[in-house]
Amino acid sequence: MHETNAFRPTRKSLMKTDPALFSALVAVWLSFAIFIFLPVIRLLITTFYVDGTFSLANMRKVLGTSYNIKALYGSLILATSVSIAGTFLGYIFALAVTRTALPRPLKVLLGAVTILPLISPPFTSSISLTLALGPNGMLLKALGIGDFSIYGFLGTWISETLTYFPVAFMVISAILNTMSATLDDAALSLGASRWRMFTTITIPLSLPGIGNSILLLFGASLADFATPLILGGHTFPVLPTEAYLMITGMFDLRGGATLSFLLLVPALLVFFLQRMLLGKKSFVSVTGKNGARTEFAKLPTALSVFICAVCLFIVVFILYLYAIILWGSFVKVWSVNNTFTLEHYAYVFKHGQKAISDTLLIAFLSTVIGSVLAVVIGYVAQRKQFFGKRFFEFTSMLNYALPGTVVGIAYIIAFNQKPILLTGTLSILVAAYVFRYYATGIRSVIASLEQIDPALEEASMSLGASSVRTFTHVTIPLIIPAVLAGMRYLFIHCMTAISATIFLVSVRWTLLTTRILESMTELQFSQASAFSMVLIVIVFLADALMLYLLKVTTSKFHKPQEISYEKVGA
């Protein structure tokens, strides 16, 4: 053994050892600095600096108002109840799709219905909910229920639960699908009843999914300001709405910033919890190869019946809510003159044309730029080792973790002065969307890269291909499905989100969602409905296009294998 061969811990500068990674990191960090750190820091300064010195005066003032404290509690209570109820509903739907004997078309319907809330702006359901369950609401009248107020906690809770449970559904059904079916078999063969199997195997194994879903919904509800704005009323204040009202109503940017800062704390907490949860090894990856069996054991009959009943009820209710909007968009005057008319659509296409084209342009640009950034960041984070990697990943997700209103306020504070003057431009909207919603893209790129064995890239290199060729011919084609999946959500978010951008729309650039909210405040319910329908149709078509692309790009190498004797038999 020679001492000369001993390990010498050398820390050469990254610039020398890996100049390309170095410059990639510099570029990405630079963009983080501008679009993530600067706004947050400016928000903090606005909150904590009064006349150039650090001061808790703003905080004290805000916390000193009992209504704001009530709003803080309101936010937390709402987020907690929405996350629990939404996760419960999502779990029920996921069970219905993965574990019951419902016929396939019905399962497809269940999946399709859950898409509706996802592709419509967050407040559409609250509008129709008001008409159905509000004072003198159609549904209440039909059921003969008199004194019932939807305004306040109850209405907000129902509306947000209906809006966000599809997220829970997606997260949980994914985890339910990847569970090993042999575990069910094992439990049954050891003599466990189906109930026991469900409570001791299925539920505990889906806990990571449930946890993740609860956190996701908690965050989403925490950030939602449009639903409480319409349904919360004065009895149930929540922080994002109060911050919005404080800024837009009281002209108090500082107070609004301080209030939104209060939101930061639970939002970041949830974000960290989620990172911890995801970081932990999931129970689901089961050792050894999975047997040929892919069918799960059926649930206890009573549970199946319960699940189907709940699903049926929710599906009918959601369809009913959307039917109200559809109907509203075609009648002359809501609930007075119910003659059929296309005039609202004519109005939308005449006066809303700019909003439509702006929204599409912004969504398109954000999707493209966001996807490119997501690929770069995802690739660097998954395949490379460098100093500060964890912080890098954390930063990339920061805007996603913050409530939209906070991001919007921070952006308007940060980018309204030199050197980076962006208010009123397309870029500020695009940047807000990109840095907020590319997170889904990054996650799916990372997840996809995790599944792609580095051996594939090594194989390419060992066959003499250059690294460029490897990247373009092997890595990119393989992660395209993930990128498309990420793009799909990015696009949907860009089309439907409102919380951050309500502060950022301008004379030259306006969005469909803000137009819908305007139409509502202008009493034009039919117009709002027509706008909503147009938006939903656009998103639906774009989504279908993305799904088609996804199918086209993956079908080549994910061709379903011909069903062979072995596949079925053993």
Partner: protein
């Protein structure tokens, strides 16, 4: 050749079938009216190539799949309609199927808890079985912190702790490495003898199939093709499939030259051999073409000494693979080739290099003659 089970069959399958309707017109018979029975305390292995329907059969017995036809009886009572949880027929899975969120103790206790036994009894039974299976000290660990062998033992313990009357194994050793496989299979056999439980064991590994069971069922394409004691099957394969699958035999088309009272004389190109009539699956007729199987381990290989006796010939070595306990030769054999397995014993074995000429001696009792199937 099947051995009649003593007394009432403990487990009986009567014409059990499983058909998968793939499309409206296309169906696959994964299990094709299979009948067999297992006596109490018997260790029966079901062997066959992948896709032969053996796992499907096992899953039907466990109750995970409903047969499309036939009946399954346990101690004379039909259990076909019962769900898996009502049968008390635990199964040890290929991938162990340990519950990843439960520690070893809770995994083993799972079935006991399902039976609502008291904590004292559970603690006692689990401790007992851990003792027996050398799992003491691992009770608080989670499956992902266990070695493969330990995981397999936990899976076994989880089933055995229920004191089942019958235990099913679905290729339980296929995820283990060679050495562990040998250890664990001895362990399984020991536990079975000790606890006197009835076992049905599915595998595709012939050395496993030959070593442990009292009785062997060979399955192919959804049907049982032969059943009997391992040695009977090894010595007297009833079909070319069995000869190939269990004995890795060499096969040759031969012509029947004459049929005597005890022997048949056959010609393998220019070589002539006698095959005992006991070793024919049918009564051959003169000039018939038949299929001859020769087990590679029965052929002696040695330095040619210029003298060629009966059942001997000279061939050239094409390839020699050393496997430690044996040399595996491939030799040019007339216009085809022959595989010969030469045990590496007593240091007396010479290794022949490719290109060398060697003398082969065939032993008539290793010949089997089969009807040529279309």
């Amino acid at each position: 050749m099947s051995e009649p089970a003593a007394g009432t069959p403990f487990l009986e399958l009567r014409s059990v079938s499983k058909t998968y309707q793939l499309t409206k017109t296309h169906a696959i018979k994964a299990v094709d009216s299979v009948s067999f029975s297992i006596a109490e305390g018997e260790f029966v292995t079901l062997i066959g190539p992948s896709g032969c329907g053996k796992s499907t059969t096992l899953r039907m017995i466990a109750g995970f799949l409903k047969p499309t036809g036939g009946d399954i009886l346990l101690e004379g009572k039909s259990i076909t309609a019962l769900g898996p949880e009502q049968r008390n027929i635990p199964m040890v899975f290929q991938n162990y199927a340990l519950f990843p969120h439960l520690n070893v103790f809770e995994n083993i206790a799972y079935g006991l808890r399902a039976r609502k036994l008291s904590d004292d009894i559970i603690a006692h039974d689990v401790a007992m079985i851990c003792q027996m299976l050398n799992l003491v000290g691992t009770e608080n660990r989670f499956p992902d912190a266990l070695s493969d062998g330990q995981q397999q033992r936990v899976a076994l313990a989880r089933a055995l702790v229920l004191k089942p009357k019958i235990l099913l194994f679905d290729e339980p050793l296929s995820n283990l490495d060679a050495r562990l496989r040998i250890q664990t299979r001895a362990e399984i056999k020991r536990m079975q003898t000790l606890l006197k439980i009835t076992v049905l064991y599915v595998t595709h590994d012939q050395s496993e199939a030959l070593s442990i069971p009292d009785r062997l069922l060979v399955m192919n394409k959804g049907k049982i093709v032969q059943q009997g004691k391992p040695r009977e099957i090894y010595d007297f394969p009833s079909t070319p499939f069995v000869a190939d699958f269990i004995g890795n035999a060499n096969f040759y088309d031969v012509c029947v030259i004459s049929v005597g009272s005890a022997n048949v004389q056959i010609a393998l190109q220019d070589l002539e051999f006698d095959v005992s009539l006991d070793h024919c699956d049918h009564h051959p007729t003169k000039d018939e073409m038949a299929l001859l199987s020769i087990n590679p381990i029965t052929i002696t290989i040695e330095e040619p000494d210029g003298v060629l006796g009966k059942n001997q010939c000279v061939c050239m070595v094409e390839q020699c693979l050393f496997t430690g306990h044996a040399f595996s030769y491939t030799l040019a054999f007339r216009d085809t080739s022959i595989r010969v397995l030469q045990p590496n014993i007593q240091g007396a074995v010479t290794q022949f290099v490719p290109g060398a000429e060697v003398k082969l001696t065939f032993h008539a009792q290793a010949f089997h003659l089969f009807r040529i199937q279309e």
